[in-house]
């Protein structure tokens, strides 16, 4: 559906996007993750034709965006970050204007607006001025704007930023619902959101792709290592360290300061996926230590994200 080849963008001497290659299949929900300033928005803006790339090309259904920007724009719906709409217009007037620009026939405009207002929950605010709307409502109007001509590709730039938890859930629900038929690309820096909605996650850092995999695979990759937190009462720290190290060959044990008096905490890191809790317990059973806490923390997407985008 979309093919991104060696996409590069320079702002003067600053390289915002550095040779990105991507292929997005039809019907995929792709989440673009990355820290602030990683080049997410720039990438999306180039995908929509708002920015011209410094180098590289984007093919949408075999049409190059450089040669045929208008044709590609007709296939896409775009919601920019924080939905910058014309603030002095009424919601209804604004959507009518968009419908006309999107070449919707005059007699079909009203029925289309009705569908969209139901889908995005706009029926109560159709005759309000856009500058009176809250951020969440604006975002919904922006979503209606993006979906006006029922585009095959939907590009959303941080669609849930600045919304309250209920609204986030609603927007996610909408994305999932429309994602059954459409190709959706959205950027976010909320990891749980990407985990919950995307089929595939692309993480970019400093303009480069550092991970590109299906959500499930990325999660499995994350689960391959584990960390165990152990807290013990009344022990000699260095002795305990020695004993704990002998539990398994390839683990790292480190002592942590504990805030509670008489309590010593250890962090045991293992690079294998084997569950070590049993071995640790059996080892401790041989001694007269008292266990305050024994907890395994499976690595999440978050830790993968931290690792991949380190040094930023």
């Amino acid at each position: 559906m979309i093919e991104v080849k060696n996409l590069t963008k320079y702002y003067n001497n600053f390289c915002a996007v550095d040779g990105i290659n991507l292929e997005i299949k039809k019907g995929e929900i792709l989440g673009l993750l990355g820290p602030n300033g990683a080049g997410k928005t720039t990438t999306l803006r180039m995908l929509t034709g708002f920015f011209k790339p410094t180098a590289g090309d984007i093919m949408v259904k075999g049409i190059s965006i450089l040669d045929n920007t208008l044709e590609v724009k007709e296939l896409m719906g775009y919601l920019p970050e924080s939905a910058p709409l014309y603030h002095n217009m009424l919601v209804y007037d604004y959507l009518c204007y968009v419908a006309k620009i999107r070449n919707i026939k005059g007699d079909k405009i009203d029925s289309r607006l009705k569908e969209l207002s139901e889908l995005c929950g706009l029926s109560n605010i159709m005759h309000q001025s856009i500058n009176e709307l809250s951020k969440g409502l604006k975002q919904r109007v922006g979503l209606a704007h993006a979906m006006m001509n029922d585009p095959e590709i939907l590009i959303l730039d941080e669609p849930t930023s600045g919304l309250d938890p209920n609204q986030i859930a609603e927007i996610r629900e909408i994305i999932k619902r429309i994602g059954k038929e459409k190709t959706i690309i959205f950027s976010t820096h909320i990891l749980s959101e990407a985990e919950a909605t995307c089929d595939r996650i692309v993480i970019i850092n400093k303009g480069k792709i550092v991970a590109d995999d299906s959500t499930q695979k990325l999660k499995n990759r994350a689960a391959s290592g584990s960390t165990i937190n152990l807290s013990l009462y009344d022990v000699n720290g260095s002795d305990a360290l020695q004993i704990l190290k002998s539990v398994a060959p390839d683990i790292e044990v480190s002592k942590k300061e504990s805030s509670e008096k008489g309590l010593i905490s250890f962090e045991i890191q293992s690079s294998t996926s084997k569950d070590l809790r049993k071995d640790i317990y059996l080892k401790i059973k041989e001694t007269d230590w008292v266990i305050a806490e024994l907890k395994q923390e499976s690595q999440t997407l978050e830790s993968i994200f931290h690792e991949l985008t380190k040094g930023n």
Partner: protein, 234 residues
């Protein structure tokens, strides 16, 4: 073509949603009305020459005020991004906004049609210069709108856009009065570049293709400049 009309219609409506339209029209009518009628009875002639002779100067401040928001505001609130990601070309946007601004200027001129009607009660009005004057005014406002839109596309600050636009329009207006200061070999070119002489010649009732061509060229250059600025930004 359809997109141009869509954009023009939206921009034109926008003028009347905000109070800008009413303020600008009122100021324009008060200023022209006062300047015109305060000296009208001294000359004791039933014509509008006086009105048209000061129009370029007034336009060079009023028209940039009309056009200053067209691009600057969009860039400032970010809706420029929405506009450009819809299936419209740069040309559609520039021409659409230009048509809206010119149409608005025509609306601004419309109430002044009452002047020749009133004057015709006092004395015999020669229709030639009046009709020519209005044709010239539309052409002049078109040219200044194109310049103002170009100025607006340069910056996201409306005040800066207004100042740049007014400076260019004002320079074009007074250019043929500055001939005294320039070397003789470029006086001819300078004289041709000035907007005032072309406008006054049409306002006399003589519709010369050179004058029309001049205004159309200014419009074209202004819009083409806007096009280039938009492309550069992209």
């Amino acid at each position: 073509m359809k997109q141009i009309i869509n954009i023009a219609a939206k921009e034109f409506k926008d003028y009347f949603i905000s109070p800008i339209a009413y303020i600008v029209i009122s100021i324009f009518l008060v200023v022209t009305g006062w300047f015109f009628f305060s000296t009208f009875f001294l000359f004791d002639t039933a014509d509008m020459r006086n009105f048209f002779s000061m129009l370029p100067i007034i336009f060079s401040f009023v028209i940039p005020a009309v056009t200053m928001r067209l691009f600057s505001e969009e860039m400032n609130i970010g809706s420029y991004e929405i506009l450009l990601t819809m299936p419209v070309s740069f040309t559609d946007i520039a021409v659409g906004k230009f048509l809206a601004a010119t149409l608005f200027s025509a609306c601004m001129l419309f109430p002044t049609l009452s002047y020749p009607i009133f004057i015709s009660f006092i004395g015999e009005v020669d229709p030639g210069p009046v009709i020519g004057g209005y044709i010239g005014s539309i052409l002049l406002s078109g040219a200044f709108c194109a310049v103002g839109i170009f100025a607006s596309s340069l910056t996201r600050n409306q005040i800066v856009a207004f100042i740049i636009g007014a400076a260019i329009c004002f320079t074009l207006t007074i250019l043929d009065q500055l001939l005294f200061f320039v070397p003789s070999y470029i006086t001819d070119i300078m004289a041709f570049l000035g907007a005032d002489a072309h406008f006054q010649s049409i306002a006399k009732g003589i519709i010369d293709s050179r004058d029309i061509l001049y205004f159309l060229s200014v419009i074209f250059i202004g819009l083409f400049g806007t096009y280039i600025v938009m492309q550069e930004r992209n």
